[in-house]
């Protein structure tokens, strides 16, 4: 059964954030780098947008704060996926895979893909 969040189309930045956190807990700057790397440079998050997206994901119960530490006098806050986040990520993965299959089928029928 689909979750309420998983049944909705997710913004690319949210999807990549969940995907990045799938590797484990991360702090803000590491997340910005991971999202850029995973998206091949398509999604470039700035800190303000990052915290906005994280706040939204946390209000949906998909992400949680996983502690803070002080590094060189700066606060690093860590985030991690919740169980609901893992479920939502799996559902989004299935959704994206179906879309990719449909695109592949269309291209193959058009003769653009062998």
């Amino acid at each position: 059964m689909l979750s309420a969040v998983g049944s909705m189309e997710m913004r690319p930045q949210s999807l990549y954030l969940l995907a990045a956190l799938g590797a484990g807990r991360m702090h803000g700057y590491a997340l910005i780098q991971a999202v850029e790397r995973l998206s091949g440079g398509d999604v470039l998050l700035r800190p303000g947008s990052l915290y906005g997206a994280l706040e939204r994901l946390q209000s949906q119960g998909l992400v949680a704060v996983a502690g803070e530490e002080q590094v060189a006098g700066r606060v690093r806050r860590y985030f991690e996926l919740t169980e609901a986040g893992v479920v939502a990520l799996a559902e989004q993965e299935a959704r994206v895979r179906r879309a990719a299959q449909a695109a592949r089928h269309g291209l193959r029928a058009h003769g653009a893909l062998s």
Binding site: G24, R25, M26, H27, G28, Y29, A30, I32, Q33, A34, R46, P47, G48, S49, L50, Y51, G52, L54, E55, Q58, S59, A64, V65, A66, G67, E68, E69, V71, A72, G73, R74, V75, R76, R77, Y78, E80, T82
Partner: protein, 339 residues
């Protein structure tokens, strides 16, 4: 705490003024949000700046100011449950007042009313002023909402604004009387909240909405009628006293009745705040502030418009403050609740 993913740690290489510049940009965020998340966001900003080299970029500034302003706007938005209750409250209160003014101020469909009053110059058909054009939109909105047509109800409430403005601006030019400005402004102050009204989630709630409107109207009309009966005989022979409760005499009395009604609404809100869902504070604030308008106008009738001008922003500020209190309860939770 472990978990540094490829980020070198060490003493900051950026001078303090970079942190100060980011700190200034973070002022775009509301203080309550900065207290909860400001240091974490600043830490991320400084790490990004350190690895990129330089200070805040224009794109970063736009991003931070935009996000900060969005948070500030959200501060004014009440929670969904609060919004629904406040909207229902405003819709019922507005409709009770509109129906009462329609029946007891405009139409007077009962015996004992001097026959001559309907011939007063400036009347609109069987009604004393152009007020019914506005008043009847309110019960129509309640009916629409109660029957599950929330969007239509909201449109009808929204339509009261241009209709009210048109009555004020055009009625004198067309030779038709208009209702007292105090009444129009009081109804107008309930409009923003009532425009958020959604259809009740059950038939029982629809029935409660309709019954509350009818019972409130019946009680208020009964009170006004009782006041009319106490008027001296000379007043009943003067059309200006019968018509729309008279300029100040009956208005003063009936305003107090309206004040009592609004106080009851406010008390009900307070009770529901304690007993019911949290966040009915806005309803209480709106009801209480709404009471101030007729009190102020009744105490100094000649300064009425000026006082209304002063009272309207106060009303808006109180409501915004109450909404903000509600939001603050929610906003400090999300990014701080470490698992």
């Amino acid at each position: 705490v472990s978990g540094d993913r490829g980020i070198p740690s060490g003493p900051p290489s950026r001078p303090d003024h970079v942190a100060c510049r980011y700190g200034r940009l973070l002022r775009a965020y509301p203080p309550v949000w900065r207290a909860a998340h400001g240091q974490a966001l600043l830490g991320t900003l400084l790490e990004v700046a350190e690895h990129r080299g330089g200070g805040p970029t224009r794109a970063e500034a736009v991003d931070l100011i935009g996000h900060g302003m969005a948070i500030r706007l959200r501060l004014l938005a009440p929670a969904r449950q609060t919004r629904e209750w406040a909207a229902a409250l405003a819709l019922v209160a507005g409709t009770v007042l509109a129906l009462t003014w329609f029946l007891a101020g405009e139409w007077l469909p009962w015996p004992g009313v001097p026959a001559g009053w309907r011939a007063t110059a400036g009347h609109l058909g069987p009604f004393a002023t152009a007020g019914p054009l506005l008043y009847l939109l309110w019960p129509a909105a309640v009916a629409a909402v109660a029957f599950g047509r929330g969007r239509l109800g909201r449109r009808l409430v929204a339509a009261t604004v241009p209709v009210g403005v048109a009555i004020v601006l055009l009625a004198p030019a067309l030779g038709v009387r208009r209702p007292p400005l105090v009444d129009l402004v009081l109804l107008g102050s309930l409009t923003p909240a009532a425009m958020l009204a959604a259809q009740p989630r059950s038939a029982r709630r629809s029935a409660v909405l309709a019954l509350a409107t009818l019972a409130g109207t019946a009680a208020l009309v009964w009170h006004v009628r009782r006041l009319e009966a106490d008027l001296p005989a000379w007043a009943m022979t003067d059309p200006s006293f019968v018509f729309y409760r008279g300029p100040f005499t009956l208005a003063l009395s009936s305003y107090w009745v309206e004040v009592k009604t609004l106080m009851l609404v406010a008390a009900a809100s307070a009770l529901a705040t304690i007993r019911g869902p949290r966040g009915l504070c806005p309803g209480l604030m709106i009801g209480t502030a709404g009471c101030c308008l007729p009190i102020l106008a009744a105490l100094t009738p000649t300064a009425g418009p000026l006082l209304l001008l002063l009272a309207a922003p106060t009303l808006a500020a109180l409501a915004a403050w109450a909404f903000g209190l509600r939001w603050r309860d929610r906003s400090t939770r999300p990014l701080t609740s470490a698992r």
